[in-house]
């Protein structure tokens, strides 16, 4: 029944490894996002994606790449993990209003806490 789900909830890995975080939404939304929340609770958008367009925050290193196998999934791949990648990563989704083209509120997943050792 979970609207936006992420796996794993916790991920501990060594520096230099490659890892993926999965996200699925069952809300029928057409736009999905990835956010990074640092230790000070600051939330920063990394990507927004729908079946037409990927918008990348220019500050995100190219070691991070979103991959969407279908409309309900947006996975986050991270290559060559660094210590500074340690954070909580949130997936979110929203629906685009047909009338205005504006996006509605975002529904967030429970987060994935990534720890890089």
């Amino acid at each position: 029944d979970t609207a936006v789900s992420q796996t794993p909830k916790y991920l501990v890995t060594q520096m230099g490894n490659d890892k993926s975080i999965k996200c699925e939404q069952n809300l029928g939304h057409d736009t999905m996002y990835w956010y990074k929340q640092d230790s000070k609770k600051f939330l920063k958008i990394m990507f927004s994606y729908n079946n037409k367009e990927l918008i990348i925050n220019e500050t995100v290193p190219n070691r991070f790449s979103p991959k969407s196998p279908d409309k309900a999934h947006l996975n986050l791949h991270i290559n060559s993990l660094e210590l500074g990648d340690s954070a909580v990563y949130f997936c979110a989704s929203s629906h685009k209003r047909l009338t205005s083209g504006r996006l509605d509120e975002q529904f967030f997943g429970p987060g994935t806490r990534l720890t890089v050792l």
């Binding site: 609770k41 600051f42 918008i55 685009k96 083209g101 504006r102 975002q106 967030f108």
Partner: protein
């Protein structure tokens, strides 16, 4: 760059009192604002939103006020309850489709018994 920030990082209120959480934004082009609540160990949850053509919007026990002149946003919670304890974020968007939200640093609200 443009930013969204909060005046107070922490706020403690007595149960039953009203809470006011403030947010300042600097992007005068922002036209859509959202307040989110994040409980410990969970993702942010939508509380209420407001568009720039409004200056006030009310929900259940919550009211958002927008002052575009001074670029200020506030969230008022009436009769604060223990379940209101959380970190509250304001977020703003200025792009055409409201895709890219900029979040403020958050205010932790603690409700005292």
């Amino acid at each position: 760059g443009e930013s969204v920030g909060l005046h107070l990082p922490t706020l403690s209120v007595q149960e039953g009192d009203n809470s006011i959480i403030n947010c300042a934004y600097s992007n005068s082009a922002s036209d859509y604002f959202i307040w989110y609540k994040q409980e410990s160990g969970k993702g942010p949850q939508f509380i209420i939103d407001i568009r720039s053509n409004m200056d006030k919007r009310q929900g259940q026990r919550v009211t958002v006020l927008l002052n575009k002149t001074v670029k200020h946003l506030s969230l008022q919670i009436a009769a604060t309850q223990p379940g209101d304890s959380a970190v509250y974020f304001c977020a703003e968007s200025a792009d055409e489709y409201g895709q890219n939200f900029v979040f403020g640093p958050g205010t932790r609200l603690s409700v005292l018994p």
